[in-house]
Every structure is written in C-alpha cells, then in structure tokens.
Symmetry: C2
Subunit: 458 residues, 2 copies
C-alpha cells in the first residue's frame, strides 16, 4: 500500500498559534481623522480579548484548551500525498494537499470561527452578528456559535440567499438565523431598499447591516465577527501550517513551493505563515497566493489605504485594493470576490517574501475536475484556483526535470457549490479578465485617503 | 482538552475483512427453478472473483493492497466520543460515533464500491453499470470507478434525478454518466415509457435497466454492481467495525449497545458484524438495526423467499420482505426505502443475535438536528434514524442510572440532503406508519414462492 495520508494524533495538535506580527513591520490602521486607531475605538465592534490579539506582537500565542476541544472534532486534518495526480501529470514533483475540507462546515473557516466564538463567550458576549457572501463563513460561524451556546445572526447577500437556499438551511441546522441583505431590520438596509427595492445586495451592504446590529444592541452583549483580512483571523488559521510542518517532518519532506487561493487571504495565510517564518530565517521557498483574474487585488491593484467595506464603517487598512466600491464580476468562487486583502499579506508582497499569481475561472474548474477524478475529493471553486497553480508548477517541474515538493491548501470541498460544476459541464462558464481601464476607474475611490509608507520589514 | 476523536494511523488499517458466513448457517439463494443457484449462473452479472467472495465461508479475507491504497484516502475514519451530546442529554452513557461521513462521496458506500471496482478491474472488466435511488450509491461507484479507470453508467430513478440534479453533477465530476430511469436506452425502459410516459420511475425499473445494459454488452467487458444486500457487500463494509474495535481498545472501552440504520443493511452490518462475532463467543451486547416505520422490513415483514428487484431479475433471496413490488412512502431517507434486507441480517434476527427497532421520520430529524447542534456534523436523513435510537438508549441509561457504552454508525453527512432539513424546519415533514392491511396486501406477492426453512445457526 502506498501511504496516501499523513495523519497526526490528537496529542500532536499544535498548542500555540504563530503570530507573523512578531516578524514583520506594518502600517497601522487609521481612524476617520487619519490618525492610527486605538484599541478602545474597536471595543463596540469586537471584544477586547480579540482586539488585544489583533494588535499583539507576541510570536506564539497559546490556544485555549476549550478551543482545542472543539477543533479536535475534525483536527488535526489529513495531509494527502497526491500520488494519482502526480502519475496523471507525469511529474517528478511530489504534491501534498492539506485537506481543510474535512471540517463540519467543509472549509478552513471554522478554525477562526471557533476561536472567535470562544473569546466572545469568555468576554460575556451572548450573540455574534456577521455577513456572508456565498455562505461559507456564515455557516462556519453558526457552527462555532452552536458549540459555545451563542446566538448567531447572519446577513447574507440577497442574490446568494435566493440562489443558495441550502446555505441558510445549514446555518439554521446549527441554530443560526440568516436574513437576506438588504433587510428591513437596519437603517442601512432600509435606506437601500427604499432607493433600490430590487437590489441584489452586496457584501458591503451586508457588512453595514451586521455592524449596525452589533453596535446598536444596548445591552452590550452583542458583537460583530469577521472571517478574513484581520490579523487575529490570520493568526487563528496558522494551525493549518503548523500541523503541516509536523506532518511533512514525519515523511522527511519540506516544501519548495507553497500555494493557496486568496480572497481576503485567511486560508493562504494559515498554511504559509509558519513557512514564511522559515523563509525569513533563510529557507528557500516560493510562496504563491493565487487570486482570480476577475479580482486581481495583489497582481494588479496598488498598495493604498482603503476601507474594508463599501459603507466605510471600518478603519482605513494599508493593503492592495481595487477600491472599496469595486464590484467583481460574478465568478463562482464567491470567497475570492473581495476588493482588498489582508494587510499582512500585502506587507509580505512588499517584502518580496511571497509572489502573487492569478488564474482564470475555466483553468480553475479544469484543475478541480482533474483533481476530483484523481484524488477523489471535489474541491470548492475557490480551491480550484490554487489547484490550477499547483498543476502549472507540477508541469514546470516536469519540463525542468526537477523533483520539487509542492504544498497546497485544499481549503474546502465543493459539495455545496455543485451548481457551478453543472454550469462548467454545460459550457456555461466563461472567463473574466479585468481591463486596465476598469482597474484605473476603481482606483479613484481612495485617491483622497492618506497614502501608506512603503515599509520594508528587513 | 477533552479528547473527542480517537484516530488510527494508516498502518493500523485492518488488512482483512470479516466474513460472517463462517459463523452462521444460511438458506441458499434459489434460481427460477426453485433450486439453489450455482455460481456460474451469476457470471453474466458479476465477475467471478466477486461471486467467489459472495459464496465464500472463509472467516478472514485479505484486503488487496490496491484497495487499501484507495481506502486510505479517507480511512481509517475517526471515532468520535460525543461528549457534548452526552452533556445535553445528561446521560451517564458514553456515546461513540463512528464517522463514515468523511469519505469523498460522504458515506460508507465507497467501502464496497472501491472493492467492487477493483475486483472488476482485475477480472478485465472495463465498465460498471448500476442503479441509484437518492444518488448516494451511484456517487460512490462513480468515485470508485474514477480511481481504477473504469467507465461508470448509472440509472437514477427519474423523480430523484429531477429533484436532485446535483447528484448527477457529482457523478459527472468523477467521470460517471447518469441517466434518468426509465430511459429509452433499454428494452425494459422503453416498455415502461410506452405504457406510462410520465412515470416517476422506481428502483425496480432502474435495476432492470442496469442489469440489461450489463448483460447485453457482447464484448463481455461490462458488469453490474450492487451497493447493499449481498454477502460480499456486507463483507467489504466490516472494515468499519474492525477499525472501531481497535479504536475502542485504545481508550479501554467496549460497547454495551450497537446501533446502525438499516435499508439494505450494509452500514449496519459493517459496524456490527465484527461485534456479532464476539457475541457468538459469549460477549453481552445489544445490537439494533434501525429502520423507518414507513418501511418496517425487519420489525413487521415475514421471513420469506423473495426477489431483490421488482422485475424479478435477481435470484430468490431468503430474507424479511415487504414484497418486491412494495413502494414505500416518500420518506426523505431514500437509502432506507427498500422492500427487503440483507439475507445475513435476516438470519441474525432469526438467531436472536440482533433486535430490530423502528423510528418515525420526525423523531429521526429531531435527533439529527440535536446531534448537528452538539457534535457539529449534519447527518444524512438515514443516519438520523440510528441517532434517534441512540438518544432513546441514552435516556434509558439515565433513567436506569447505568454507565452504558453506546456505539453508532454515523453513516453519512446530510450536505446533499439539505432540502429535507429545510422541509423539517418549515414543518412540511410528516410521519408515515404502515397499517397492517398494507403489509398484509404486500405479503401476497411472494405467496407462490418456495418457503425458506427457519434455520437456527446454533
């Protein structure tokens, strides 16, 4: 028997998260006055224990036992040696898939949802509110809240809510409540509905609604929760890469190339940051965040200060951004349709530690179907982007006759995205590439904001 | 950290299946002439290596390395100690879930699909044909065929094909072809369509179409494949129980009660047969196959000789049966809507080694939602029946103040069955109980067949 999976025992679960803020320099988030924000300014939105994590520069942060207890439902996750994919590609490369699709909600998202629900619970919070686009994040937070007895309220972009009724059912099964956004439950929602009663909604509006519900609860027992972008979210995801290191050690391997798809950036960061630490300390590794050509934040957009949401409720973050009002084309990888990206990822690009790539929708689905037929797991549309990059690298290794080790985050399964596979098989999917005019047009939005310094961490 | 999951390493994968035919006596299958069939009579339908397994009475049968290689994509599967469910129920019982939902198709079905695809491949077969009701089995066989480079053709009951287009997409993603049944591709299908152009189809018709396609391929390179009922299918599933034994040994526990839902019976058999062996040798265990009240084969139907399919293509099998023309009410646990059950399970009931139970649809979904909210995994509607029985037993243990160990097969996840959860939350699900008249009516069908002997194995 060829050994396909490398497992860890529950005792081998990492006990600390890795915090990349200990090792790089960053531009601070700015408030409405253009000055760096203080932790207190975020207190109505997040609990103070998470705000402390957001600004911490401790390299190792202990994972609470109560968080490990819930994570151990599905963690440690398997590392799969993709031998059949290697055979079909005829590549000398060794390909490893870190399989985050085995969590109950089917993706890496609960790694941070569980931690956030725990810290809110400890802080005395009774209810979390969030937005969700395609529904993956809302499902993960509903799952996490069910584990700690918190209420969960999710504002889901109207068009997705209507197209994917099953996502609402998933949240409901875990006890969460899901409303289409814009709704008549908030000032923000009502204002939009009055102007555009037939609007399909947007992530920006949904964020506004979620924040408004959170901050307007006069009992002080409700907070908002975000599933990507922020430092503490990246921190919680590093358990992925820390497990992977132990697994590769067991088979005496180490990656030459690390790949993850990137929307807000959390699954990419989770796998790669513990290896970025090694790279800072001299290891030779190529590290590729992969985005869709339809939303080329890192590959085409400038490094600016911009808001994380359309309604400008969030502080200004120093990041690559297509502009906070940018509406990406309707690709099926809903999780990659974000105008900005995690500030830490933007800084790593500035530091030349990671190299962004982009992939078209059709190349992504070609890759996903090939991986499903060889390795057996149907990937999420987002994951397909990373897998297309893996296949490119494996083919390059073949051309060069190099025994490369390629590591990729298999961030989620596609069992709730089969409609997009159906369209692919029916030849109803198309590619979208963004013209430079469109990018230029979106740039104007942040022209009036302060400009971030181009910091080099080293 | 409380340890929630008990994992095995890939090296601890069982290397042999347990064959219960070594330990019990059975009535033989009969041919059209009323005499026991010979292995050769099955040769046009199944490859000879699988027919040999079907009739073997060797207690331990070696699992080929090439089968272990594919099973190791997701096996060994986790055993979960359901501590949060125990807490919510306030029970002194220790509840263990054997989590078969982690396979790529989401259920236990690929345990036998992979083995069957392998043996067909070794025998020189190029294509497998099967039927599927709700789609779980067809998906598993398409997955297995993709792993060995076989073609796969699936006839899916028309009404399910229309209601669940995603199941077809799953099969297609793994390279399988799925047709609604009745189709115009077979004599059987065309005959039905001529008479009833608007028929919703039935499992009986789909089986007829699949067998017809298999046996009429003049190259001799096509065979039929069945996902439950037969001895070799039960055999392949015993890897579930064999793994579980090792896992329980690691924590020093042993089950007092073993529970699995039962349609054709394969997931129940897979978990319980290795423990039935212990019971034969003196262990005290209660073993419960759980069926829906809407299809009460073991709890209400007689032990008779009957066909496995409506079109009477199969041999006569000695089993409990509601009659091969019985159409069960439209419960959402499609995998449990079968008129008969595995002959080995029927014999174990006759031997008083196992005790059938039945559960209503609403009790099943109540249980599934409670388990989703405590243990985090959304169960398949079939699995919900087993979980309802677990909750009954855990409550009984509380009343009796007994520290029972309850073991259940968590046979599949519900991510492709969310429509039924939606109906549950919208109060659109109802219970179906079968009246004695309805059962009596269906009995008449097999009155003309030979009667099986009531054998006692001991």
């Amino acid at each position: 028997m060829k050994q396909r999976t490398i497992n860890l025992t529950p005792e081998e679960l990492p006990r600390e998260w890795y915090n990349i803020l200990a090792d790089i320099k960053m531009n601070p988030p700015l408030g409405p006055d253009g000055k760096p924000i203080s932790p207190e300014m975020l207190a109505p939105v997040f609990p103070m224990n998470l705000i402390e994590q957001e600004v911490s520069s401790e390299r190792w942060i202990k994972i609470p036992e109560e968080v490990l207890d819930v994570l151990s439902i599905w963690r440690p996750t398997p590392l799969i040696r993709a031998t059949r994919l290697e055979e079909v590609l005829g590549t000398p490369a060794r390909i490893y898939l870190k399989n985050e699709s085995v969590s109950p909600p089917g993706s890496h998202k609960p790694n941070t949802a569980v931690a956030q629900a725990y810290y809110n619970k400890v802080f005395g919070i009774k209810k979390l509110v969030t937005e969700t686009g395609a529904g993956q994040w809302g499902s993960a937070l509903a799952f996490a809240c069910s584990q700690y007895g918190l209420d969960c309220e999710v504002y889901m972009v109207r068009v997705s809510f209507d197209q994917k009724p099953h996502r609402k059912t998933v949240m409901q099964t875990w006890g969460g409540v899901c409303y289409p956004s814009p709704s008549d439950r908030t000032n923000a929602g009502r204002a939009v509905l009055e102007k555009y009663p037939d609007t399909p909604g947007s992530l920006g509006i949904a964020i506004s609604e979620a924040i408004e519900i959170a901050v307007s609860d006069t009992t002080g027992k409700t907070r908002y929760s975000l599933g990507s972008v922020l430092n503490h979210v990246m921190l919680h995801q590093t358990i992925i890469g820390l497990e992977t290191k132990k697994q590769l050690e067991k088979v005496g391997d180490y990656p030459d190339v690390i790949i993850g798809c990137a929307g807000g950036g959390s699954n990419f960061a989770g796998l790669s940051y513990p290896f970025v630490y090694d790279k800072i300390h001299g290891k030779q590794i190529e590290i590729y965040p992969v985005e869709p050509t339809a939303c080329p934040t890192l590959t085409k957009a400038p490094y600016v200060y911009d808001h994380g949401d359309e309604a400008k409720y969030t502080p200004l973050l120093a990041m690559h951004s297509l502009g906070h009002a940018f509406i990406p084309p309707p690709i099926h990888a809903g999780g990659l349709r974000y105008h900005g990206i995690a500030p830490t990822i933007s800084q790593l690009v500035n530091d030349n530690l990671i190299t962004p790539k982009s992939i078209t929708q059709l190349d992504a689905f070609d890759a996903g179907v090939l991986v499903a037929r060889t390795e057996g797991i149907i990937p999420a549309p987002e994951t397909n982007h990373a897998l297309a990059c893996v296949i490119d690298e494996a083919r390059k290794a073949k051309e060069e006759g190099k025994e490369k080790v390629i590591l990729v985050n298999f961030s989620g399964h596609g069992l709730l995205d089969l409609g997009s596979y159906e369209k692919y098989f029916n030849h109803e999917l198309t590619n979208f590439a963004l013209s430079d005019e469109e990018i230029l047009k979106s740039e104007k939005i942040y022209e009036t904001f302060p400009k971030p310094e181009l910091i080099r961490s080293f």
